[in-house]
């Protein structure tokens, strides 16, 4: 069996747009795992929470979610992604619709940003992933 070759090179930038949230918990772990994997390949990874994904950033929500029975919490995935170097953004315009206040947001978020920031990231990065 040939050794698998990495598909991401050092210096590549990847944006992960996280739209999934508590209504589909089974979709909420893999994006962070993929982010960690890409970061372990020295890619520069940004993950942008938007749409229902913003609910994962309300304190206490991700702690109670698992993607599969017996699995670790989504909050652990979020923390591990951050520890791996994934930069976490939260969509400011989506917050009012989901009734999220600034002081409810988890500490792991690096930046609360506009849709314009996301648009610029998408236009300038090497790869975009939507979950």
């Amino acid at each position: 069996m040939d050794a698998a070759q990495p598909t991401a090179d050092a210096g590549k930038t990847v944006v992960i747009v996280m739209t999934s949230g508590p209504s589909t918990p089974q979709r909420c772990a893999t994006p962070f795992f993929i982010g960690m994997l890409l970061a372990s390949m020295d890619a520069e990874v940004s993950l942008f929470f938007t749409m229902e994904g913003v609910l994962l950033t309300r304190r206490g929500v991700a702690d109670r979610l698992v993607a599969a029975p017996g699995g670790k919490s989504i909050m652990r995935f979020i923390r591990e992604a951050k520890e791996a170097g994934v930069k976490l953004y939260l969509c400011r315009p989506a917050m009012p619709g989901y009734e999220i206040l600034d002081d409810e947001v988890i500490d792991e978020i690096d930046e609360v940003s506009s849709g314009g920031v996301l648009a610029e990231m998408i236009l300038s990065c090497d790869k975009v992933l939507f979950f």
Partner: protein, 145 residues
């Protein structure tokens, strides 16, 4: 052989403690790199091994390979700068070989170091190994496997 919290740590190897990797200087000047038994305990049984290509130049602290278990994914970081000159086909076929024999057949990557004499001083070896890992494990909250 140092053993800290049931993790063997051969003290003739050189360790980047923060990155949890070991390095062995071979007689021909090349360096063999792998994960420590402590790193294997944290990762769990590995199911995937994704090394960078032979010929890739790697800076110290950057990723030589990515490994995945059912619960974790992360890099095997270069303890010194250099060029990747070999990857482990046996591990590619059976990634859990790293868990089974982390210091022997489960080596991760072979490198031609760029400046071993200049960079090896940052690594821990010999009688300092046990204390260095005791400190790291305490900081990580690891009580043993």
């Amino acid at each position: 052989m140092a053993i800290v919290n049931n993790c063997p740590l051969p003290d003739e190897l050189f360790y980047d403690v923060d990155s949890n990797v070991w390095a062995r200087r071979e007689a021909d000047g090349t360096v063999t790199v792998g994960m420590t038994s402590y790193a294997c305990s944290l990762a769990g049984e590995l199911v995937a091994y994704l090394p960078k290509k032979v010929g890739t130049l790697i800076e110290r602290g950057k990723s030589l390979a990515s490994v995945e278990s059912g619960k974790w994914v992360g890099p095997i970081k270069a303890p010194v700068s250099g060029e990747i000159i070999g990857i482990n086909e046996a591990v590619a076929a059976r990634p859990s070989l790293i868990n089974a024999d982390p210091y022997g057949q489960g080596w991760a990557v072979k490198m031609q170091p760029a400046d071993w004499d200049g960079e090896a001083g940052r690594l821990v070896t010999g009688s300092a190994v046990a204390a260095a890992f005791e400190t790291k494990m305490a900081a990580d909250g690891f009580v043993g496997r």
